[in-house]
């Protein structure tokens, strides 16, 4: 328990301090001292008497010195009395430390100017960010040309490893999502189509919707969440641990060794994954058609054969490399942006996934417009 008691004697305001002035307890006297400071009566001198202070630590000492300064600032003559030898030593030391720090050090700037500055900085960074992304693409392209000129420098092992990691290992989750999408579409349309006695059209519907639009999108979203985020996190951690700097000093261009293998691997794996998702999605639809509409598997298959134009499958698969390029490029780019603290890994991983999904959908829309105009 820390405490103060204020007595006036003649011209002197005597503040008796007592109890333990430690980190845990000085919070109690701080408001009392504040009150004393604002309500101080007629006096010329202030005496801070710490004779009966039992324990005293940095918080106690600094609080005492701060208030001694504040009383001085109001024009009083201040004396600290009754300090034991040890307390005197502590006070002297903290006095020295406080003297070297200018009192007005702003630890948390809160002024309007600071906020405006912050806003301006953000805006500029945003513009620069776009420029940086193009610089990143340029470097990647540069590395790609190097690959063409020196085919022996292509990192086949890294590419295969990434195909396995991002492609093969994603098959179970892609199978599950694609199957469920097939089921959902079939269910929804089965009810409607049955009303019109047009149950057979469920095959056209599933065949085209799944191959042309749904399986590329679903695959891209799963890959963005799974591989895009892990690219960002991997490269981000490598940046924090200075592995990327180490690579540069050894002459291993990170674009050639880290970025391109990831992009190429995903561009190879994605069309294959989309084809896989096509099969599983149609299977899901087939299953529901069988359960819900009593359509036999062979009936479904023969109808599919006659109505599903092969171009729809191609359109879906062609989107793969584009989506993959976007996802991998954004993932790697955001990974390089990670700054030297652990929090930014989380932030950039999130940004990377959000960006990738947005870009994939935008790209898909562009495909729709272009292909429709071309009549494909």
């Amino acid at each position: 328990m820390a405490n103060i008691e204020i007595n006036y004697k003649n011209d002197i305001c005597q503040i008796e301090c007592s109890g333990g002035w430690t980190l845990d307890s000085v919070a109690e006297v701080s408001p009392q001292l504040k009150k004393a400071l604002s309500a101080i009566g007629e006096a010329s001198d202030v005496i801070l008497d710490i004779t009966s202070v039992e324990v005293f630590d940095s918080a106690g000492a600094i609080l005492l010195l701060n208030y001694a300064d504040k009383f001085k600032g109001k024009g009083y003559h201040v004396n600290i009395t009754g300090a034991s030898e040890e307390q005197q030593r502590m006070l002297a030391m903290y006095r020295q430390q406080l003297a070297t720090t200018t009192t007005e050090t702003q630890l948390n700037p809160r002024s309007i100017a600071a906020r405006l500055e912050h806003l301006g900085e953000k805006s500029i960074n945003y513009v620069l960010g776009t420029a940086h992304f193009f610089a990143f693409l340029g470097e990647t392209f540069n590395a790609l040309i190097y690959y063409f000129v020196h085919p022996s420098s292509i990192r086949f092992r890294a590419i295969f490893k990434n195909i396995e990691e991002a492609g093969v290992r994603a098959l179970p989750i892609i199978a599950l999502t694609a199957f469920l999408i097939g089921v959902v579409i079939a269910y929804q349309s089965a009810v409607q189509l049955e009303k019109f006695g047009a149950s057979i059209f469920i095959v056209d519907m599933i065949g085209i919707a799944v191959t042309r639009e749904l399986s590329p999108l679903i695959t891209a979203i799963v890959v963005a969440g799974r591989s895009g985020s892990s690219y960002t996190a991997q490269l981000g951690v490598m940046k924090i641990t200075e592995e990327i700097d180490a690579m540069k000093t050894m002459g291993f261009d990170p674009y050639r060794f880290l970025v391109l293998p990831r992009i190429i691997a995903l561009m190879i794996a994605m069309p294959l994954m989309i084809f896989f998702a096509d099969l599983i999605g149609i299977l899901g639809g087939m299953f529901i058609a069988n359960v819900q509409l009593n359509m036999s598997y062979s009936e479904f298959a023969s109808r599919l054969q006659s109505v599903l134009d092969i171009k729809h499958v191609w359109v879906g698969i062609i989107k793969g490399p584009f989506f993959a390029g976007l996802i991998a490029a954004v993932g790697c780019y955001r990974g390089f942006q990670v700054s030297y603290n652990t929090e930014s890994i989380g932030r950039y991983t999130t940004i990377s996934v959000v960006n990738a999904i947005f870009l994939v959908i935008a790209c898909d829309a562009a495909f729709s417009v272009v292909l429709t105009e071309l009549g494909i």
Partner: protein, 253 residues
């Protein structure tokens, strides 16, 4: 001799098959700077982690400030943690906080001090460890190696600890920086009166600032006591440590 602040008895530690400590005993007394020595991988950091409740030994007893830390209640443990400061080998500053925020964080969590007083305390600690004032608003990634050590020391000192645990505080510093850091520890100990337990390889530190030390070797403490006492031992670990070429130069001076 004054009271023991840390005492470890019959410590056995094992990671899977790897027996690291086999019957380790040591005692740290109040107010001293205690050195924990030994070759790389001899289990110094592990021993330190057992003192600060980050790791449980397989058997044995650990007492810190009179608490049996292996059978301590949750609330007592929380109280005890406020009485020590730890400087990790790599600094372990929170990378997403500035230096000032790193130092202020325990004060903000555990005390109800007004913010301006906390700011004052933080600035005092920053200047106390010899960091320039502008370092307060820097992030750990913007600091040099020596500044990281100083900033983590300031963080370890934020709650006015009674014991300071240092894991290789001078490793990675240049000789001048290391000497300055040693001096800093000694002068802070003089002013603040804490006990220091430090893991070190640094022969200079051992020669100049350590009061008592123990040397780990063969999974045991091979010698404990003041430097003179330890030097009496003829154990091969000590032979190689102090009478290797680097050690000999020192002892000749």
């Amino acid at each position: 001799m004054s009271a023991a602040v840390v005492s470890m008895r019959n410590i056995v530690t094992r990671f899977g098959e790897n027996l690291v400590h086999n019957d380790v005993n040591l005692t740290v007394y109040k107010g001293e700077i205690y050195g924990l020595l030994g070759g790389s991988g001899s289990g110094k950091s592990t021993l330190l982690r057992e003192m600060i409740m980050l790791l449980r030994p397989e058997s044995g007893s650990v007492e810190v400030l009179g608490h049996d830390v292996l059978h301590i209640k949750h609330t007592e443990a929380a109280e005890l943690r406020k009485k020590w400061g730890v400087l990790f080998q790599s600094g372990a500053l929170y990378t997403s906080l500035t230096v000032a925020e790193n130092i202020a964080i325990t004060l903000k969590e555990y005390t109800s001090l007004p913010p301006d007083l906390i700011d004052s305390i933080v600035m005092a600690k920053i200047s106390m460890v010899g960091l320039p004032e502008h370092a307060a608003s820097l992030y750990p990634a913007e600091l040099s190696g020596g500044m990281v050590k100083r900033a983590s020391l300031a963080r370890a000192l934020s709650m006015d600890p009674q014991i300071l645990f240092l894991d290789e505080p001078t490793s990675g510093l240049d000789p001048v920086g290391a000497e300055a850091f040693d001096k800093l520890i000694v002068s802070l100990r003089e002013h603040l009166g804490f006990t220091v337990v430090m893991v070190t390889h640094d022969l200079d530190s051992i020669w100049t600032i350590v009061d008592r030390l123990c040397v780990l070797g063969d999974k045991k403490v091979v010698a404990e006591g003041s430097l003179e006492e330890v030097m009496q031992s003829t154990h091969p670990t000590i032979e190689s440590f102090f009478r290797g070429s680097r050690g000999t130069i020192r002892s000749r001076v």
